[in-house]
């Protein structure tokens, strides 16, 4: 490889994990853009610095988002990535595909783009990586013709995503896929036309295992849960014990609220329903014996986000339990009230969690019409700095 043009990147063809460099090289055989991308990346590896220009607004007719503009800062050396824009294509709920749908995408992308993609981007969209400006509209037209649409970008609703849910998971307490699809369809305008102070993310997990990290990564997190007791199959419990599972140590001993007792003589697992906080641990460890209860719905949490700019937040409980059945009117109405409240008050680039922190949870709950309940807090305030609404105050009473 003495005359390789990419000696540094070649090092990343070694090793057992699949190599993105091999993939880029293969794409480069067919597409000059992929070839220039590879060479520009080699330059970044040499200089330890990126070579993409800052921003650039591009798009398709009728939408304000869904395409990210990207321009090389060395078009002199890498003319084929002078314009190298990205499509965010809205994934089907739960990232399920037929091979024919994926082949359709490949054919379109080979025609208009670099042939490179990400399955998937951080928010969940299919990422089509790199097309020149003039190809954006025809590429979108063809995507649309074949039933695909763009996802969110900029200050809009970002593409909602959901865990695999009832399609393949016995833990799912809500129909994550249907809910995700319904929300996405309901808010197409908010998704495609950025008109908000900043982004808004929605993620849906079917149970508190939260496989899509909704509590950390979404402004509005929907997490399936239940209200009655865990369902127990006593025979299956006994079978786990017979197979040598240390039920006392690994199950009861790890229950966060000591809600479980193991009676080895009877091979019986006792669950104190009022102590269980539905953490999923025992169910995860004994899926054949334990299942979520029958009275199912979701907990809603608000404000989850990464660090920028006022610190990272994990979502805060605002609705401990809501039934989640089609047509999901209660949730959709609440979402509209939340969007409006935030849209009317937030500063530029202020996420809803930061706004609630600035104006107070009290104001948020009052304005969107959610009653305060103890499930919302880990513990009550320790300071005496609280407000009274004038109508609440009468002398001596």
């Amino acid at each position: 490889m003495a005359n390789s043009k990419t000696p540094r990147l070649d090092e990343l063809e070694k090793g057992r994990w699949p190599s993105f460099v091999k993939i880029m090289k293969r794409a480069a055989v067919k597409k000059p853009a992929a070839g220039d991308l590879l060479k520009q990346l080699e330059l970044s590896y040499e200089e330890k610095v990126g070579h993409w220009k800052h921003g650039g607004i591009v798009g398709v007719r009728g939408y304000g988002g869904g395409v990210i503009g990207r321009y090389s800062d060395r078009p002199d050396r890498f003319p084929n990535v002078k314009e190298f824009h990205t499509f965010r294509v809205n994934q089907p709920s739960g990232w399920f595909y037929t091979s024919s749908a994926l082949r359709q995408l490949c054919d379109i992308w080979d025609k208009y783009g670099s042939g490179l993609t990400n399955f998937h981007g951080a928010t969940g969209d299919i990422i089509l990586l790199g097309a020149p400006t003039e190809n954006l509209q025809p590429c979108f037209d063809e995507l649309s013709e074949h039933g695909f649409d763009l996802g969110g970008s900029g200050s809009d609703l970002r593409t909602p995503s959901a865990c695999v849910g009832p399609a393949r998971c016995e833990y799912a307490c809500v129909d994550t896929l249907d809910l995700c699809h319904t929300i996405t369809q309901e808010f197409q305008n908010e998704l495609h036309r950025p008109m908000w102070p900043y982004k808004f993310k929605i993620k849906i997990s079917g149970c508190p295992n939260d496989c899509v990290a909704s509590i950390a990564r979404s402004d509005l997190s929907v997490i399936g849960t239940w209200r009655d007791s865990i369902q127990v199959d006593p025979q299956a419990v006994a079978a786990y014990a017979d197979q040598g599972l240390d039920i006392q140590g690994e199950i009861c001993g790890k229950c966060p609220t000591r809600a479980l007792s193991w009676h080895p003589e009877r091979k019986e697992l006792e669950i104190r329903r009022e102590e269980c906080v539905r953490c999923m641990h025992c169910i995860n460890k004994m899926p054949k014996a334990l299942r979520p209860g029958r009275e199912r719905g979701a907990t809603l949490l608000i404000g989850g986000k990464a660090t920028m700019k006022e610190s990272a937040f994990l979502g805060w409980v605002i609705v401990p339990f809501m039934k989640m059945e089609p047509p999901y009117t209660e949730l959709l109405d609440l979402l509209r009230r939340i969007f409006n409240w935030w849209d009317e008050r937030a500063k530029n680039r202020e996420r809803i969690g930061e706004l609630i922190y600035r104006l107070g949870m009290r104001a948020f709950l009052h304005d969107v019409g959610l009653p305060p309940v103890p499930q919302m807090v880990a513990r009550p305030r320790a300071n005496p700095y609280y407000y009274w609404r004038p109508e609440e105050v009468r002398s001596n009473g």
Partner: protein, 352 residues
């Protein structure tokens, strides 16, 4: 003109028949072997899932290869996970072994289930973003090469979730991962004053700074940065390209540990700073690979069965974590941003 606002393809058209028949009726699952799940429904039907690691960056040939495999072994149905894994959905058990053989031949890694490391969630880096402090794909490749056996074997105390983001924007939302690899800058940005006055909105730039380090300079229609307050987040650069934050000499990588998102046993938690800086050393970032390897190994050696990284550290105490890993504790580990107070120790209970 193309139709707009049609929304994504309906997932119902993408579900394999066995899923359509058993939607919401799965009874239990088990991990047959690393990377292979068996789901059984109430009526006894089975679905095998084969989980395969991918580099996230795929060309159309790779996607067609995956489609060919899905056609041959899964009647054309597959899915992806939120961590960039491919999942082949096998409804005919007799096709499971041949699929695994073929994946083995084609060098696609099968694993990522149970007490193993799953794929590393990551971002664009030098491949396609304008603000990175480091590359993402290269570090991920080097780290996964090193931890490969923990992907294909379920030999860890608990599951291990590593994430990588190439700047503080954290598209990869790394802030709740067992191990987070984060690209960081270390020098205040350089303000191209003339350009600022031409292309940037001053109030937006001033408002972008988390620490109030940016002052407007109305006379010259530019801004000034109080270098003592700047902690190099790059948010001003996001708002204004005339403020340059990238610096090939001083940019690098930080490591945070102990986060989780699942509610199992313990509440979700943030990852916290372990290593403030490691050099950017492409193409294989040996310092980063070594640091991650060390943390994983110390966790393997000391954690109890079933303990996530953060649960283990919270049990033994952070002071012991630094001792066991040999990572030096510095002033940088002590929070001085706006929510710092609850992280200070307000008890006499601690370990030596």
């Amino acid at each position: 003109m193309a139709k707009t606002d049609i929304g994504p393809p309906d997932y119902r058209q993408m579900l394999p028949p066995v899923v359509q028949r058993n939607y919401g009726r799965w009874r239990f699952h088990e991990i047959v072997r690393p990377g292979v799940l068996r789901h059984v429904s109430e009526n006894g039907e089975e679905l095998y899932t084969v989980r395969v690691g991918s580099p996230r960056l795929l060309d159309t040939d790779a996607i067609r290869e995956i489609c060919d495999l899905a056609d041959r072994y899964c009647d054309g149905y597959l899915r992806f996970t939120s961590r960039h894994n491919i999942e082949f959905l096998v409804s005919d058990q007799s096709k499971l072994e041949p699929l695994l053989q073929e994946l083995w031949k084609r060098e696609w890694p099968v694993g990522g289930t149970g007490n193993s490391i799953s794929n590393i969630v990551h971002t664009q880096g030098w491949i396609h973003c304008h603000t990175p402090a480091t590359d993402a794909s290269g570090i991920v490749k080097a780290v996964m090469d090193d931890l490969y056996d923990h992907f294909t074997h379920m030999d860890l105390p608990a599951k291990l979730r590593i994430s990588m983001a190439c700047c503080l924007n954290m598209c990869g939302a790394v802030h709740c991962s067992d191990i987070a690899i984060l690209g960081i800058h270390r020098k205040p940005p350089y303000v191209d004053k003339e350009l600022v006055s031409k292309i940037c909105e001053i109030p937006t730039v001033v408002a972008a700074c988390p620490t109030g380090a940016i002052r407007p300079n109305p006379k010259e229609k530019t801004v000034e940065i109080n270098e003592e307050r700047c902690m190099y987040c790059g948010n001003c650069y996001t708002m204004c390209p005339a403020i340059k934050i990238m610096n090939p000499e001083t940019d690098g990588v930080a490591i945070f540990v102990g986060g989780k998102v699942s509610n199992a046993r313990t509440a979700p938690m943030f990852s916290r700073l372990a290593i403030p800086f490691l050099p950017n050393n492409p193409p294989r970032w040996p310092e980063v690979v070594e640091a991650v390897h060390n943390i994983v190994q110390v966790w393997i050696d000391h954690a109890q069965k079933g303990e996530r990284m953060g649960e283990w550290i919270e049990r033994i105490g952070w002071e012991r974590f630094f001792q066991l890993t040999g990572i030096p504790f510095t002033e940088k580990h002590i929070d001085d941003f706006i929510f710092s107070v609850p992280t200070f120790r307000s008890t006499t209970m601690f370990r030596w």
